[in-house]
């Protein structure tokens, strides 16, 4: 029973944070058809922002999250303008593969600049919230993790409300559905693209503050979150936000079950095996539709 509770608690924590990173990637893919490989760097930058604000400047949790949001929003807009905007509307190459590589190049630059500036050392980020919560006999959870889950879920709900209700959100969905029709209806699609990428990157940055506090801030802190987010996005089905959220929790559950029952060394290989089986059975992920494939 204790084991089961431990698995479930860990699944919710992991799933929320993967969801926050992955939802941004799904948003970008849905609107721009770009697999944003720089999303992991946004997590890394968020971690360093958390370190700078909480550890060095002694600011509170709310300003730290706000600053991380702002910094990664600007970085995301810049990434879009540098690595994706120049390729839009050009022909003669595979847009998805080339932008996958250009955003990967951005990640290479950001990661190595961080390595040059901050060095390979891991930096401790103080927790955003102190204390632990006793969940069940022997299973306790830091309030930090509770806050992480709460903020992740709040951010995902806020994103959903933004997309479902606001003028800009409806415009973004219109672009995802049909860019040409959206343009004919007066949506300035070239201006929507940087906005989407900035917003998605900012979600990664917020996740980065929490992940930094959970583990460390380091130049490679974004690599594993990026890999997990990629797995979640693919598992959920490209361009489907609900699919991404379900997949995030499914992946979190798989990983925490494997970690508790078998051991952490093999939790990643087991995850890969699960993905392989799922993709062989459902080549377009859980919620993806075959019509999304290039025909």
């Amino acid at each position: 029973m204790t084991e089961l509770v431990a698995i479930l608690v860990s699944a919710v924590v992991l799933g929320s944070i993967y969801g926050l990173v992955a939802v941004g990637m799904t948003l970008i893919y849905g609107v721009l058809r770009v697999f944003d490989m720089s999303q992991g760097s946004m997590v890394m930058v968020g971690g360093f922002v958390g370190w700078a604000t909480l550890q060095s400047a002694h600011l509170g949790a709310v300003p730290a999250i706000g600053i991380a949001f702002a910094v990664t929003f600007v970085l995301g807009v810049a990434t879009q303008l540098i690595s994706v905007q120049p390729l839009l509307g050009r022909i003669g190459f595979d847009f998805e593969m080339i932008t996958f590589i250009t955003t990967f190049a951005v990640a290479m630059v950001l990661g190595n600049v961080a390595l040059e500036v901050f060095g390979p050392r891991q930096r401790n980020v103080p927790p955003l919230v102190h204390g632990t919560l006793d969940v069940y006999h022997g299973v306790s959870l830091p309030w930090q993790s509770v806050a992480m889950v709460a903020v992740s879920i709040a951010a995902m709900v806020a994103l959903w409300l933004f997309l479902a209700r606001s003028r800009y959100g409806i415009a973004i969905r219109a672009v995802a559905q049909d860019p040409d029709a959206a343009r004919l209806m007066g949506v300035p699609i070239r201006r929507m693209f940087p906005l989407v990428m900035g917003l998605a990157s900012a979600l990664g940055g917020v996740a980065g503050v929490f992940l930094g506090a959970q583990f460390f801030a380091s130049p490679t802190a974004g690599d594993l979150p990026l890999l997990m987010a990629l797995i979640v996005v693919v598992f959920g089905g490209l361009g489907s936000l609900p699919g991404t959220v379900y997949a995030a929790y499914a992946i979190g559950l798989t990983q925490s079950a494997a970690a508790v029952l078998i051991g952490t060394t093999w939790s990643l290989p087991i995850l890969y095996a699960v993905i392989l089986v799922v993709l062989v059975v459902r080549p377009h992920g859980l919620a993806g539709h075959p019509s999304q494939a290039r025909l």
């Binding site: 948003l27 849905g30 609107v31 058809r33 697999f35 690595s83 120049p86 390729l87 022909i91 003669g92 190459f93 595979d94 847009f95 998805e96 593969m97 080339i98 996958f100 590589i101 250009t102 990967f104 190049a105 951005v106 290479m108 630059v109 990661g111 190595n112 600049v113 040059e116 959903w160 997309l163 973004i172 969905r173 995802a176 559905q177 049909d178 860019p179 990629l230 797995i231 996005v233 490209l238 361009g239 489907s240 936000l241 609900p242 060394t265 990643l268 290989p269 890969y272 993905i275 392989l276 993709l279 062989v280 080549p283 377009h284 539709h289 019509s291 999304q292 494939a293 290039r294 025909l295």
Partner: protein
């Protein structure tokens, strides 16, 4: 994407022949051991890049597990050289065959997948392969330390002559690989792969069997990658799991894409350029990778088809200008429109 440009005359072949002949004469007149070693590594990398380009650029398969195939070839060849009395040249071919087999096994689950899905499965395969080797305690692969003290192809030859022998072997294999890829691209197999890349449903409806051609592409690419890995293990005298790290992958992808994905000469140009840059700024890995990332970004956003693609487009335009024609349009290609991804929230 466009296909290979046929029949631009004998000049490129002649020019290539002259470059290869000059490269072959180089060790006779220049005895700088460091430079010869650097060039040998470059030729081996060209073989790897050509094999990867064949899958990624020409067949359009998002394979991001190529370095595992490369390492597998190195390990297989190394183990054959260490533990059997097989002639080293046969051990090298054995490495290639082992990689080919592995590539065919990887190909099967990716057949129904497209794009990023393939990337994830192949990358996952590579990661699991790396983890299995790093955690291997049986002594077969040497775990995290790799296989040491491989005698290699020219173990019995004195050092300076062996260096030259490796140089010529690597050059010959590189020329043969690039030539083989060029020949395959112009063959019916190449045509079938391009058709599958540009539209899988249409090509298979016209009778191109994705199973047969994709598996063949994986097998060929795996064989070349394994050959490169075996040469590397043999030349280097050892092989370890670090050859398939993320940094190595970033560098090789940069070579491919800067040179020109899907072009015959792209891997050669990209590898040569990046080897020169790496040699110039070696010793500062972070600065080196920052610069490589920046170069990748600039070159690809300016020329999505890489330096080779940009060059051949420029040559075409120049030739048209000489003939006083209008500049040719990029190619008769369909504009790729982003397609509906659904409404995002439903």
């Amino acid at each position: 994407m466009s296909g290979p440009r046929h029949a631009r005359g004998v000049w490129p072949v002649l020019g290539g022949g002259v470059v290869v002949a000059l490269a072959a004469m180089l060790p006779l007149i220049w005895s700088n051991g460091y430079a010869i070693g650097l060039l040998t590594t470059m030729f081996i990398t060209i073989v790897l890049a050509a094999s990867w380009n064949f899958l990624l650029g020409m067949a359009g398969v998002w394979n991001f597990g190529q370095l595992a195939l490369y390492a597998a070839g190195g390990y297989a060849a190394g183990a054959l050289m260490l533990h059997t009395s097989l002639p080293p040249a046969l051990a090298l071919v054995g490495g290639g065959l082992a990689s080919m087999l592995l590539a065919v096994v990887v190909a099967v689950p990716t057949l129904r997948l497209f794009g990023i899905y393939t990337a994830l499965v192949t990358f996952a395969f590579a990661e699991v392969f790396r983890l299995v080797i790093v955690n291997d305690g049986s002594g077969l692969t040497g775990g995290p330390y790799g296989l040491p003290a491989i005698d290699g192809l020219f173990g019995s030859v004195a050092a300076p002559s062996a260096a030259r022998a490796y140089y010529w072997t690597a050059l010959a294999v590189a020329v043969a690989s690039v030539g083989a890829v060029a020949a395959i691209v112009r063959s019916p197999l190449g045509l079938a792969l391009r058709a599958l890349r540009d539209s899988l449903p249409y090509a298979s409806a016209r009778g191109v069997d994705p199973l047969r051609y994709r598996v063949a592409a994986f097998g060929l690419s795996g064989f070349l990658a394994g050959l490169a890995g075996g040469l590397y293990a043999s030349f280097n005298g050892s092989i370890g799991p670090e050859v398939m790290g993320l940094t190595e992958m970033s560098i090789t992808v940069t070579m491919l894409v800067v040179g020109g994905l899907g072009t015959v000469m792209g891997p050669v140009l990209g590898t040569a350029l990046l080897t020169a840059i790496e040699a110039a700024i070696s010793g500062h890995p972070a600065i080196e990778l920052t610069i490589l990332g920046a170069i990748l970004l600039v070159v690809v956003t300016l020329f999505p088809r890489g330096l080779a693609g940009a060059t051949s487009a420029g040559v075409d335009r120049f030739a048209a200008w000489l003939r006083e024609e209008d500049a040719p349009v990029a190619e008769n290609e369909e504009v790729e429109q982003p397609q509906s991804a659904g409404t995002l929230i439903r």
